[in-house]
Structure formats: C-alpha cells, structure tokens
C-alpha cells in the first residue's frame, strides 16, 4: 500500500520535493482564475450588491476550517491506532493552518455582517460554532507547545482532537438550539437556498484554490516538522555522545 511507503520521513521529504512545485503552480493558477471570476465575471447580487463578493473567500475558508479538522481527526486516528510516524506530524502542522482559516472565516463573516446585518458580530449559530472551533484549535496548539516530547504531545493532542471531533456535532446542535431559542429567525440568512450558476462557479473555483492552498501549506509545514524532529534527535544524540560515560549507549538510533 503506497500510504505505508511514505511512513519513512526521508522518502516523504523526497515526495514533497517533487510534488510541491506542481501544487504551488496549480494553486496560484486556480487563485488567478478564481479571483478573476469573483471580481469580473460574477454578477452582483440583486439584494446584497457587491458585498456578495466576500462570499467567494468567506465560504471557502469556512469550508476549509472544517476540512482541516477532519484531516486532523483522521491523522489522530492514524497516531493512536496505526502509530503511523507521519500522522502526528500531519496533525500538528495542520492545527495552525486550521486556526488561520477559522480566523479568516470569522473576519470575513463579520465584515460581511456589518453591511448586511448592521453589526460586526451577530451571535448567529454558525458564527458562534466557528468561534468555538477557533478556541479548540488554539487550545490544541497550546497543548502541543507545552509538551516538549513530540511523541507524548502527539498522543495527548490526538485524544483531545478525537474528543473534539465527537463533540463538534453536539456543539453545533446545541448552538442551533440556543440560537433558535433566543432569536426567532429574524436575521437575514447569508446564503439563500438557491444560488445562481454564475455565482456558483467562482465559488467552486475559489474553494478548489483554497483547498490547494491548504495542501501546499500543510505539506510545507509537515516538512518543517520532520526537519525539526531531525534537529531534535541529532541534538539529543550529540548531547549523549559528548558525555563520555554514556558514549557506548549512543549507538542506538536516536530518532
């Protein structure tokens, strides 16, 4: 199975080296097309005017912040069940990217909300759930930072990620409940049930561009993490070699 071949970090780095230029090129091209469509070919909305153009970055980033959590959950299963050596690398490097996309979704949502709802922040069910998701991302990053042993930190973060994945639907459900209880459907819904194809295509292209951006950044961050662990292992080996009493024990693999 090809998936297992890349358990070896050195092979993974080689794969990244080959793959990355293509992905970057594709990502830039898709962004160029998507942005062109978003600004020049997509018509303005008859209700929202030009502010509809915020949708082309708001919806993809909101989508990506959930996809990133999915990637982290799958990686966490990989860490706990299969002990795949790259799984916790993947989970760790996805967290800051996910947090950034969540932040982008919140910022664009509130900048869209100001002209539409008249307020920057509405305690709307979706924005509230995304805010909770942001806190979870930041908590996971804090957990990674506070533990210095990457293996132990990886397992702890994996447990928390999976508990969070179990909890996210419950949070979504309860926030929806809370929202309908406190404000009976008065807010303008941002995306109507129907969307015209002239608006749908730019959205899909932008979503693809954001997804490619995520994978580019994720692969680059994973490569950094592999290098960081290599540096850590070498430093520890160097420290054990420099101590003469334990020099004989240094022959064991340091990674």
């Amino acid at each position: 199975m090809a998936f297992w071949d890349y358990a070896n970090p050195t092979r993974f780095l080689k794969l990244v080296q080959v793959l990355l230029p293509w992905l970057v090129g594709l990502c830039v091209a898709t962004f160029a097309i998507g942005l062109y469509m978003a600004f020049f070919t997509a018509p303005e909305d008859y209700q929202q005017g030009d502010t509809i153009r915020i949708m082309y970055i708001h919806v993809p980033s909101a989508w990506l912040c959930m996809m990133c959590y999915t990637v982290m959950s799958i990686s966490s299963i990989g860490t706990l069940v299969w002990k795949h050596p790259l799984a916790d690398v993947s989970a760790k490097s996805a967290a800051p990217i996910g947090a950034a996309f969540t932040f982008m979704a919140l910022v664009t949502g509130s900048l869209w909300g100001k002209p539409m709802w008249g307020t920057y922040w509405e305690w709307d069910a979706r924005m509230t759930s995304v805010l909770v998701l942001l806190i979870m991302y930041l908590g996971l990053m804090a957990l990674w930072r506070t533990m210095d042993d990457p293996i132990k930190a990886g397992k702890a973060a994996a447990v928390l990620t999976l508990v969070g994945a179990l909890n996210l639907p419950i949070i979504k459900f309860s926030v929806d409940w809370w929202n309908t209880l406190h404000q009976p459907a008065s807010v303008v819904r941002l995306d109507g049930p129907t969307i015209h194809s002239s608006q749908l295509w730019p959205l899909l292209v932008m979503a693809l561009a954001f997804t490619l951006l995520f994978f580019v950044l994720h692969l680059m961050a994973m490569r950094n993490e592999v290098l960081r662990r290599r540096v850590r292992a070498l430093r520890m080996r160097a420290a054990s070699v420099s101590r003469p009493a334990t020099a004989s024990a240094s022959a064991q693999p340091a990674e």
């Binding site: 706990l80 909770v132 998701l133 806190i135 979870m136 930041l138 908590g139 804090a142 957990l143 506070t146 533990m147 132990k152 397992k155 702890a156 447990v159 928390l160 999976l162 508990v163 969070g164 179990l166 909890n167 419950i170 949070i171 459900f173 309860s174 926030v175 409940w177 809370w178 209880l181």
Partner: protein, 223 residues
C-alpha cells in the same frame, strides 16, 4: 461494587474531604462569583432574576474547572497513579470512580449551595428548584469532561489554565442545555422536560466518553 472499587472510592473521598478542604473552597469560590456578578451588571433585581440561572451555571462551571487540576496530579506526584496503572484493574473504571468521588466532594456542595445563592439573585421557588435540578444532573458531566483535560495536562507543572482552555469548548452544550432548561421552567418557550432530558443524555454521553478518553490519555502520559 466490588471491594477494590469501594476502597478506592472511600480513599478518594476521604482525601478530598480531609486535606485542603477543596469542597469548602469550591463553594466559597462559587459564592464569590455570584457576589461579583451584581457589581458588574448592577443591582437590578428583575435583571438578576432573568439572568440568575446563567450566573449560577457559569459560577458552577468555573468552580468545577478550578478544582479539576488536582484530580490526577496529586496521585501522579506521589506515584499512586503508576500503581493504579500497574494494578491491572480497568483504568476506565478507576477514572469513573475517581470522578464520582471528586464530584461528591466538589460538585455536590455546589448543587446544595445553589438554592441558597439563588436567593441573592431574586429567583422564585420554581426557578430555584429548576436550577438546582439542572445543576444536579449537569455538574457530573462537567467533572467527567474535565477529567479528560485533567489527564491530558497531568504531566504539566502548571496545567490549570491550559486545562480550562481545553475543557471550556467541550462544556458549551452542557451550559446551553442547563441554562435553557432552567429558563424553560421560568418562562416557558418550550416545556422544561425537553432540554432537561437532552441534558441528561449529555451527562450519560460524558459518562462514557470521559472515562474512556481520560484513561487513554493517562496511559499515553505514563509510557
């Protein structure tokens, strides 16, 4: 309950009641939070009656979070946790028993104090009973979910603040359904039982997920 479980339960209960008196401190903290709220929002009794259930719930949440970091830490420091891991008993059950003992010594006093504190917040008897009932059902869930955070941060020297950050997002549903069922009893947009039963369901889910995840985290922290 088998012998070892009862012994562990008694030991934990005795430790938490004797040393440090965490039960009393938790209730004092709860009182402090409830007292501070009117200074923030003003002494308007109508407003306080309206947001009273929320104040009591947030106070209980904060008081629970405050006591959680000692759930496993003391046992880790003196090596008891390692013995528990090596004893061959199901660790999930050990965690569940420890949570039960912890809740009896810190959560239950909060529930008992809630009717008294709701007098300060101008709650009528029905609301008082509703808040107490929701706290009785909901605070075990807070302890059980908090146990996950406590076992994740067990090896950290100053994990208390991180624990709170990790646990708070997970407790959002419990807070929502706890407060909304208390609200439903006062001015009923929905019948009381609907959110209350969902709260019960959440507690039962927490009783399954909490010990399993917490035991997994403790095992990983040990090896």
């Amino acid at each position: 309950m088998t012998g070892w479980a009862m012994a562990l339960f008694r030991r934990d209960l005795r430790l938490s009641v004797r040393i440090g008196g965490s039960a009393i401190v938790g209730v004092l903290f709860f009182l402090a939070v409830v007292t501070v709220f009117p200074f923030g929002v003003g002494p308007d009794l109508n407003l306080l009656a309206r947001i009273g259930p929320a104040i009591l719930w947030i106070g209980a949440l904060l008081a629970t979070l405050l006591g959680l970091d000692r759930l496993f830490q003391a046992d880790r420091e003196d090596g008891t946790l390692d013995l528990m891991l090596m004893a061959g008993r199901p660790l999930e059950l050990v965690v569940l028993i420890k949570c039960l003992a912890h809740w009896l010594s810190t959560g239950l006093p909060l529930v008992v104090a809630a009717p008294l504190f709701s007098v300060f917040l101008n709650l009528d008897p029905v609301a008082m009973a509703a808040v107490t009932a929701t706290l009785l059902v909901g605070t075990p869930a807070l302890t059980l979910i908090g146990a996950i955070g406590a076992s994740l941060t067990v090896s950290l020297r100053r994990g208390g603040l991180l624990l709170a950050v990790l646990v708070v997002p997970l407790t959002v549903p419990i807070l929502i359904f706890g407060v909304s069922s208390a609200d439903a009893a006062i001015h009923d947009p929905v019948p009381f039982m609907t959110p209350f039963l969902i709260l019960c369901a959440l507690t039962l889910i927490a009783a399954v997920v909490g010990p399993i995840a917490s035991a997994a985290a403790l095992r990983f922290a040990a090896d």
